[in-house]
Symmetry: C2
Subunit: 312 residues, 2 copies
């Protein structure tokens, strides 16, 4: 009898579901709900359980065929426990045991932070997963996940992998984390748009500053726009500095670059690499950089892999 | 019958030996030799084997009572293999199998980088060893070791834990690693002396600039000397920045500060902590900082713990 796992990506706006066959990890069905607006401490879990039952029915799957449910959440997680999750108004919540109240016993549950889960999934979906991998997610926020010895590094409080808040420059403007000089303040969406606007006061540009997007910045950089090229170059340089710091500390097998901004593609990787070679210490210069493959499905794929691995 | 392990710390100048009883890890005897000047690829191992036999004899220990020999070496090591060790003129040398040619079979051998070994020993000699610990060694060079899940993080090429070469400022002067902006360029011995001399051109000082030592700088800082205080403050600030980067990436359980410069004591830890609290992101502000305890014996103690753990 075929067995399955679910990967569930709980965000502040939407909850995404993926049904996967195991051990092949074939995606059978995707589904998306809005995140409930009230009673988050119970309604999210009710919705997860109900949606799983619904998807099971649509695919003629018995609940006994479901081996596990992997959960990605948008906040630090330590051993399935969340201290605080502003997006979901959770406080001091044991996600693992909360969800288990809504699912039949015997179904494995595995919970971690969404970026850590994405890191795990990206590494697992490589032909041969690496032992040590560092994943960046570049978007509105900049985050990441660190895989050491094949496992998610949650750290003491679950803050492991929050590499968007590495100090990489002397800054005074406050970052979303409350401090300054963070990588996110160079490579996050609003920092990118802000820098493009700033530079457009100094240099000529074809960018439409009224309706500026990160995609525009990369597209115009490809066609040689001065401002766009300078902004992309700056992203590459600070990503390279941050990667050089992580290399000389962790000496990983690979860097994987994901998140919405990574849709820019080769120009992003190539610019990071160009700078990285000038910043890499000792023998770390040839650590490969690759684009993430799982895209918008990083959360559900990662969560599915994460719980599937727990099952074996 | 009592059992023993040896911890051997191979440096460019001296080779230190420690004989330890197990499982109590009591130091029975210490011994020190000059590092042989020629034929390093064999002479070092001959000396190690001969010295072990000599110490055994002096303590009425049969070789069969020796469970293992732990080795610390002053270069990157990956699974017992050294790509290049300038201090010892080793190239592409499998330390593990080289040494095993000189010791009876059945004796366990465990080899790693000296700073990694020191990190391991410092963590193991805590009342309850931590899961994740970061060790800094401050001296002529600045290095360190990272313990994740109780194990040394060697990384892809053995460069794991080389945290003295984290990029922490925008610099142009070359560091010993060939790049610039490294932590070592603020917190290493020559950087400290240089900064004190520079500042003494601007501010009044009681420091004897002719015979300046790092110990002087810390001693005079304790008694309120302006230049000395500024230098110590700067060390504290950049150590704090580097620790904040590692916290937000690895979220360790503890920071341990060792190496010759850590003999400065509480003033060093207190200054780092004072700055750390301003740089720590999220919930990482309360990660403890402690002084290393094993001092000059860090290498032999760490190597002994490292091989003892391998034995169990």
């Amino acid at each position: 009898m075929e067995k399955y796992v679910y990967g569930v990506d709980i965000g502040g706006t939407n909850i995404k579901f993926g049904l996967f066959s195991i051990p092949k990890m074939e995606l059978i069905q995707k589904h998306e709900n809005s995140t409930p607006l009230t009673n988050h401490e119970t309604s999210v879990f009710t919705l997860v359980a109900e949606t799983i039952n619904k998807i099971n029915k649509e695919n003629n799957i018995e609940i006994s065929q479901v081996e596990g449910v992997g959960i990605a959440v948008p906040c630090p997680v330590k051993n399935g426990y969340v201290e605080k999750c502003p997006n979901l108004k959770w406080e001091k919540l044991d996600i693992h045991s909360s969800l288990s109240n809504y699912l039949p016993s015997g179904i494995k549950i595995a919970v971690s932070n969404d970026a850590n889960i994405a890191a795990y999934g990206e590494n697992q979906s490589l032909e041969i997963p690496h032992k040590n991998a560092i994943f960046y997610t570049l978007g509105t926020g900049v985050g990441g996940g660190i895989i050491i010895d094949g496992e998610i590094l949650e750290g003491r409080t679950g803050a492991g992998g929050e590499i968007g808040h590495m100090h990489v420059f002397e800054g005074t403007e406050p970052c979303s984390c409350g401090l300054s000089g963070c990588l996110e303040q160079v490579c996050g969406t609003s920092a990118i748009l802000k820098k493009a606007r700033e530079l457009s006061l100094i240099y000529p540009t074809q960018l439409n500053l009224e309706k500026l997007t990160v995609k525009d910045v990369f597209d115009y950089a490809k066609s040689g726009d001065t401002v766009a090229m300078k902004v992309v170059n700056r992203i590459g340089e600070y990503m390279a500095i941050s990667a050089s710091i992580l290399s000389v500390s962790l000496d990983p097998d690979i860097f994987i670059i994901g998140g919405g901004i990574s849709k820019a593609g080769d120009i992003l990787i190539d610019t990071i690499k160009k700078h990285y070679i000038n910043h890499a210490r000792f023998g770390t210069g040839d650590i490969p950089f690759v684009l993430a493959k799982t895209g918008n499905d990083a959360g559900i794929i990662g969560a599915a892999y994460y719980v599937a691995k727990k099952n074996t």
